[in-house]
C-alpha cells in the first residue's frame, strides 16, 4: 500500500525578458494504491508539468511531493528507488521506444537496472511481462518497435513501466495516438493491471469520456489551478465549475446531441 501525495505544489517558469509564467499554482492531491485519478484540462493547463514534477524531471518552485510520507530524494540511490516506484507511460509509442533495440532489450534493461529478478531469471520475467500485457512472447520478443502496430508498441511501453514493479503509474495521454478501435483495449488492459497489481494510476488526458469511465476521481486543471475535484461521475455529469462545464459542452456527446431536437452549437444542423 503506497500513497503519493502532492502538497501545495507551485511551478513558476522565468521567461527570458518576459516576466514569469505560473504553470502550477498551489496544487494538492493524493493517489493511493489501487486508485485511478483522472487529470483533465486543455493544452497548457499544466497537466504535463505535474507529470514532470512527479517524475522529478522538474522540481517544484514551492511545495513538495511525498511518497509514503517521505519527500523525494533529489539525487542518488534514493532518487533511483523513487523512480522505480513511479513509472510513466508516454503519449507517443512511436517515439518512446528505441528503434535500434529489440523488444527484449527494452524490457531487460529496467529488470537489470533495478535488479528486479536474479540475472538468470531475466528472460522468463521478460516473457511474463509480455504475457501480462496480452502479447504472445514468441511473436514479439525479437522484433524491433517498427515491426509492431501502435497498440502493440503501447503495450510494450506499459510492460516496460511495469517491469520495475512500481506502485504508481503516470499515464500521459496513453491512448490518444492510437486508433479508436484499439484505444478501449489498451485502457481496459490498464484497468485490469491496475486492479490486479493494486497500482495507483494518474491518467492524464483531455478526453473527458474516457476519463469518466476509467477514473475513480477526476481533477480538473485550468491555468495551473485545480478548479474542480471529485468522484468521476459527479465531475463529468454534474460539473460545478464554469470551466469544467465549458469542457464538457465542447466534448462530442451524441447522446445529448440527438436528444435535443433543435440545432446544436457547433453542429452542422
Amino acid at each position: 500500500m503506497s500513497t503519493l501525495e502532492v502538497r501545495h505544489v507551485s511551478k513558476v517558469y522565468n521567461l527570458r525578458g518576459a516576466g514569469q509564467l505560473t504553470a502550477l499554482d498551489d496544487v494538492s492531491f493524493t493517489i493511493d494504491s489501487g486508485q485511478t485519478i483522472g487529470l483533465v484540462g486543455q493544452s497548457g493547463s499544466g497537466k504535463s508539468t505535474i507529470a514532470k514534477i512527479l517524475t522529478q524531471l522538474e522540481t517544484p518552485t514551492t511545495g513538495e511531493v511525498l511518497l509514503d510520507g517521505k519527500p523525494i530524494p533529489r539525487r542518488g540511490a534514493g532518487l533511483r528507488s523513487y523512480r522505480q516506484q513511479l513509472r510513466m507511460v508516454f503519449q507517443d509509442p512511436f517515439a518512446s521506444l528505441n528503434p535500434y533495440h529489440s523488444i527484449r532489450y527494452h524490457l531487460e534493461r529496467p529488470l537489470r537496472l533495478d535488479k528486479v529478478v536474479p540475472k538468470d531469471e531475466t528472460e522468463a520475467e521478460v516473457r511474463r511481462l509480455l504475457e501480462r500485457v496480452r502479447l504472445i512472447p514468441d511473436a514479439v520478443i525479437d522484433r524491433r518497435p517498427h515491426e509492431l502496430s501502435g497498440g502493440q508498441r503501447q503495450r510494450i511501453a506499459i510492460a516496460r513501466a511495469l517491469a520495475s514493479r512500481p506502485a504508481i503509474l503516470v499515464a500521459d495521454e496513453p491512448v490518444s495516438m492510437l486508433d479508436v478501435s484499439i484505444r478501449l483495449g489498451v485502457l481496459n488492459l490498464l484497468a485490469d493491471l491496475q486492479r490486479e497489481e493494486g497500482l495507483g494510476v494518474l491518467y492524464i488526458t483531455h478526453d473527458l469520456a474516457t476519463a469518466r469511465h476509467f477514473s475513480d476521481e477526476i481533477i480538473v486543471l485550468n491555468q495551473g489551478r485545480i478548479v474542480e475535484q471529485g468522484k468521476a461521475d459527479d465531475v463529468i455529469l454534474r460539473p460545478q465549475d464554469p470551466y469544467t462545464q465549458e469542457l464538457r459542452a465542447a466534448s462530442p456527446d451524441p447522446e445529448r446531441f440527438f436528444a435535443s431536437a433543435g440545432p446544436a452549437e457547433g453542429g452542422a444542423r
Partner: protein, 274 residues
C-alpha cells in the same frame, strides 16, 4: 430532391505490391451539394485512400483499377475526373476541390510567412491577379477564418496549433472550391479548440455553400457535424445513411461495433470494464 456534386461509381484502388492489396473496393457514393459527409473507419480501412483517389492524388504503387468519378460543376458542366489531362487536372485541383491534410498543423513551411504561403495559391491559380490583389485576398481570408489580417507576416511557429489549423482552412478556402476534403483536421487539437474549429467549418459551409468530406476515426465527433456518414471497413462502404440514422438505427454489425467501442460522455453504458 437531389443535387449531386460528386458521383463516385464502382471506384476501386489497388496497391500493386506483392501480394496486391485491394484498398478501396467498388465504392458507390453520391455527395450532395453543400453536404457534410463523414467518412469513418479504423486505420487502414481505406478512407484516406478513397479521399485521395477521387482527386487522383495517389502515387504508385496505388492504382485506380476501375470506376468513375464525376464532378458536377456549379456551372452545369460534368467533369470526368479520371479523364482529365495533366494541365486540366492541375487547374481542377484546389480550384474545384481543395484539401485540408492530416497533420495540417505541421504542413506549413516553417521558413515562410503565413501570408506568402497563402499568396502562393493565387500566384499559381490566379495568374491575372497583381500583388496588391493577392495581398488583399490573403488579408480577407485571414479575417474570414478569424486569424486576423495582421498575422500575414507571422511565421507558423509564432501561431498556436489551432491558429495554424485555421490558416490551413483559409488556404483550402482560397479559391472558393465546391468541395473541401478534410482528413482528420482536428485530431491533434484539444477539445475547446476543436469545438471552435468545427463551429467555424459549419459556419463557412453555410456562408459559402461548399460540400465537405470529413474523414476521422472519431465517431462521436462525426455524428455531431455530419449530415450523412459513410462507415468504411476493409475498403468497402458497409453503411451509408444520415448521422441520426447511424446513431439511432445502425444496420451493419460493424457500425454497431464501432458505436459500442466509444466510452459515452454522459450515457450510462460504460464500456470500460471496471
Amino acid at each position: 430532391m437531389t443535387d449531386p456534386l460528386l458521383s463516385v461509381r464502382d471506384f476501386s484502388v489497388v496497391y500493386d505490391v506483392d501480394p496486391p492489396v485491394a484498398a478501396v473496393k467498388n465504392v458507390m457514393l453520391e455527395l450532395q451539394r453543400g453536404e457534410i459527409l463523414g467518412l469513418a473507419g479504423e486505420s487502414g480501412c481505406g478512407k484516406t485512400t478513397l479521399a485521395y483517389g477521387i482527386q487522383r492524388l495517389l502515387k504508385a504503387p496505388a492504382v485506380i483499377t476501375g470506376g468513375s468519378v464525376v464532378f458536377h460543376d456549379a456551372d452545369g458542366e460534368d467533369i470526368d475526373v479520371n479523364s482529365l489531362g495533366v494541365e486540366a487536372m492541375r487547374r481542377f485541383r484546389w480550384d474545384k476541390v481543395s484539401m485540408v491534410f492530416q497533420g495540417a498543423m505541421n504542413a506549413l513551411n516553417p521558413v515562410a510567412t503565413i501570408g506568402s504561403q497563402l499568396e502562393d495559391v493565387f500566384e499559381v491559380h490566379r495568374p491575372g491577379m497583381n500583388r496588391k490583389q493577392r495581398r488583399d485576398a490573403v488579408a480577407e481570408l485571414l479575417e474570414i477564418v478569424k486569424v486576423g489580417a495582421q498575422r500575414a507576416r507571422s511565421f507558423p511557429h509564432e501561431l498556436s496549433g489551432g491558429m495554424r489549423q485555421r490558416v490551413m482552412i483559409a488556404m483550402a478556402l482560397a479559391l472558393r472550391p465546391q468541395l473541401m476534403v478534410m482528413d482528420e483536421p482536428t485530431t491533434a487539437l484539444d477539445v475547446l479548440v476543436q469545438r471552435e474549429i468545427l463551429r467555424q467549418i459549419s459556419q463557412l459551409r453555410r456562408e459559402f455553400g461548399f460540400s465537405v468530406i470529413f474523414i476521422t476515426h472519431d465517431l462521436p465527433l462525426l455524428l455531431e457535424i455530419s449530415d450523412r456518414i459513410a462507415i468504411m471497413r476493409e475498403g468497402e462502404i458497409v453503411e451509408l445513411q444520415t448521422a441520426e440514422g447511424i446513431w439511432r438505427d445502425p444496420q451493419d454489425e460493424y457500425t454497431k461495433t464501432l458505436l459500442s467501442s466509444f466510452p459515452r460522455l454522459t450515457g450510462e453504458k460504460g464500456v470500460v470494464v471496471r
